[in-house]
């Protein structure tokens, strides 16, 4: 890998030896940390003319190399003993982790060759790093490499073993302190050979804004379709207000659905009707209200979502955000007990997303009910979520009140809620 020019003003990392190491600088007699004074020098420092001598002799300990068995330092944790095994070998150490153990430092032999210059630092165990820190910080002559953002390879990810698939799914499922409006009980669902839900157990609390978060393709939208009986589980049960959805007759199912309002990703407005007729549709089908009363309700709902001036527009005349808001108005028009939002933020700019989140919050405060928002947008979750369930690989990793989830110590939840590229979740 070609070396990047280093910024001489870049902050010095105290846990790392100075750059460049003495073996790499034939005209630099020693490194500031002092190991160049030790007798064992790489051959590169010798005046020998052979090109092969430019490589450090493998049998001799390099001046920057870690001791074979580092001494534990009192007050410091043992290096790497309890670090998660998921850490890819080629990752760079975190800048803030100077005094912390670096678990992947023990696996330098698997570092891809093209990352070799970085991996030298990973080979430094914490004790050696701590020892070098003072000297390195005192030096201004040689600078450490400029800090680069952590990088993840998306093409050579390590294969995960099948029995390790759920090692992060062991966090508690905390109760929200209120009864559940919807419950998933050991739900399995497969499409052909592709198993989406693999024993999902999840509760959606009554009268709260709940968010189901998770990476793309983990079954969030499939969850919504199970809640309203558009899909049935292959195994397990889905319970809405104490009634089993898969065991309902068609008539019971259609009655149950009247208690739901669903906002689909693109609003799912009927293309053959204008906005007013779209919002009025459920009222005309399910109530005996007169046309005057229906129009009044529709206008009120459209005003709530800021679309009272667009009542006569067709869906194809509306922007994406307007279609979502119109879909929201239609979802609310029957005063449902449960409102489901399937990725309300998809395709919206951050400001429109924020406004839509505020709208969801306001209308929930006004109407109450169980609101379920499916998303993978963390900002939206921070804005409106009262209860969060994190879904991955067809099961819940962790669920509970939002503030507890944002302070979770589960590596997957931590990575997902902070949007980091490093962690259990890769591109697979």
């Amino acid at each position: 890998m070609p070396e990047e020019p280093r910024d001489p003003n870049a902050p010095q990392r105290p846990d790392l030896p100075a750059w460049p190491p003495s073996w790499a600088m034939s005209d630099s007699p020693q490194s500031p940390s002092g190991p160049a004074e030790e007798p064992a020098q790489p051959a590169a420092a010798e005046p020998a003319p052979e090109p092969a001598a430019a490589e450090p002799a493998p049998a001799e300990p390099a001046p920057w190399a870690a001791p074979a068995t580092p001494e534990p330092v009192a007050g410091e944790p043992a290096p790497a003993a309890d670090e998660p095994a998921w850490a890819p070998e080629w990752t760079t150490p975190e800048p803030a982790a100077a005094a912390e153990p670096v678990g992947y430092a023990n696996e330098p032999e698997t570092v891809p060759p093209h990352e070799a210059p970085t991996s030298q630092y990973e080979a430094v165990p914490p004790v050696a790093a701590a020892g070098a820190a003072g000297a390195a910080a005192a030096s201004s002559a040689s600078e450490p490499p400029a800090e680069e953002p952590p990088r993840v390879s998306v093409v050579n990810e390590p294969e995960e073993h099948a029995d390790e698939e759920y090692r992060y799914h062991n966090s508690p499922k905390r109760s929200a302190g209120v009864p559940n409006a919807i419950e998933f009980v050991d739900v399995h669902k497969a499409f052909g050979r592709n198993e989406i839900l693999k024993g999902l157990n999840m509760g959606i609390p009554e009268d709260k804004i709940s968010m189901i978060l998770g990476p793309s393709g983990t079954g969030k939208s499939v969850c919504i379709k199970h809640m309203v009986g558009l899909l049935y589980p292959d195994q397990g049960d889905v319970i809405v207000h104490g009634e089993s959805v898969p065991n309902m007759t068609d008539d019971e199912l259609f009655d149950m659905r009247k208690r739901f309002g669903v906002l689909f990703q693109d609003g799912a407005l009927f293309g053959s009707m204008n906005l007013e007729d779209n919002v009025a549709f459920p009222l005309r089908q399910h109530t005996d209200k007169g046309e005057e009363e229906i129009r009044e309700i529709v206008q009120r709902r459209l005003a709530e979502v800021g679309l009272s001036g667009s009542w006569d527009k067709m869906p194809n005349e509306l922007s994406g955000g307007m279609r979502k808001r119109a879909g929201f108005a239609r979802a609310l028009v029957l005063d449902p007990d449960i409102v489901l939002f399937d990725e309300p933020d998809s395709g919206l700019d951050p400001v429109r997303t924020a406004l839509l989140c505020e709208l969801i919050e306001e209308i929930h405060q006004e109407n109450g009910g169980a609101y379920v928002v499916i998303t993978h947008d963390i900002l939206s979750a921070k804005r409106v979520a009262e209860h969060i369930s994190v879904l991955w690989r067809g099961r819940i990793v962790e669920s509970g009140p939002a503030e507890e989830l944002f302070n979770s110590d589960n590596p997957f939840v931590r990575q997902f809620l902070s949007g980091e590229s490093q962690g259990p979740l890769g591109m697979e």
Binding site: K225, V228, L230, D250, F254, D255, M256, R257, K258, F260, V262, F264, Q265, D266, A268, L269, F270, G271, F281, P282, Q285, H286
Partner: protein, 269 residues
């Protein structure tokens, strides 16, 4: 798994599976009408009826008119060639009522109504509109498919009879006004001699069988469309192929059943 035999049986197996799915779907739609559930959406039935009349009637009549002209011209020249120009009316009667008007009606229904239904339902499916209907507590099969079928049953007989009239009028124009080998009275004498009211009913039966199949096949392919816009296009093409096959099958079977054993015409004494 599977050998060479599994390979060649796979295609017919898929055909049977698809056929079974279509039959099951068709029964589901018909049941909604027989159970009278479709009348919960009588407003939608009327809307669909209006759409059929407004969007399809004129184009069907124009097509049938053109076909009627052709029947008249061909009949006039053929009958003149055998020295019996008055028999142009015979040819026009049989050609129009029994064969070409039902076929022209079926073709245009498949092209205009059938593909329109697939495109409409297919785009509703991929944009979640059908799911939206379901989650509002509305049976989408009843609302979208049964209403269309009932609307076609209500409107198409009248539309078809009008189409037959357009064909007859075109043949009259071609034989009497354009070629002029036979008088109006001579033309109508044989024209009406070679058809009677049951023939009109049989012709109508053929046309309505075609229309019913076309609407149901269109509903099936549109309702079950998947795979985005490309999937809707594929479903439209598939429905067109199946509809044309069915139109010709019904045309052939209808002719065999209604006139195959008895010409129902004063031919050969």
């Amino acid at each position: 798994m599977g050998g060479p035999s599994a390979g060649w049986t796979a295609v017919p197996r898929d055909w049977f599976a698809s056929f079974g799915e279509i039959v099951k779907f068709i029964w589901g739609v018909l049941k909604q009408i027989l159970d009278l559930r479709v009348f919960k959406f009588s407003g939608e039935v009327l809307r669909q009826a209006g759409l059929i009349i407004m969007s399809s009637a004129l184009v069907i009549w124009v097509l049938v008119f053109v076909v009627g002209l052709q029947c008249g011209i061909e009949g006039a020249y053929f009958s003149r060639a055998v020295g019996a120009p008055a028999n142009a009316g015979t040819f026009a009667a049989l050609c129009n009522l029994r064969e070409l008007v039902p076929y022209a009606f079926g073709w245009m229904m498949a092209a205009k109504v059938g593909t329109g239904i697939v495109a409409e339902l297919g785009s509703m499916r991929i944009s979640d509109e059908i799911d939206a209907l379901e989650v509002m507590g509305i049976d989408s099969i009843t609302f979208l498919c049964a209403t269309k079928l009932l609307a076609s049953w209500l409107t198409l007989p009248f539309l078809y009879v009008m189409a037959v009239g357009a064909g007859f009028f075109a043949s009259y124009l071609a034989v009497v006004e354009q070629i002029g080998e036979v008088s109006s009275g001579g033309y109508f004498l044989l024209f009406w001699m070679f058809q009677n009211p049951p023939d009109l009913l049989f012709s109508l039966a053929k046309a309505m069988a075609m229309a019913t199949i076309i609407v149901l096949v269109g509903c099936y392919y549109g309702y079950n469309a998947s795979g985005g816009p490309v999937g809707v296009g594929t479903a439209t093409a598939k429905s067109m192929v199946l509809n044309l096959v069915m139109v010709h099958l019904i045309g052939m079977l209808g002719t065999q059943v209604f006139w195959g054993g008895n010409a129902r015409a004063p031919i050969g004494g």
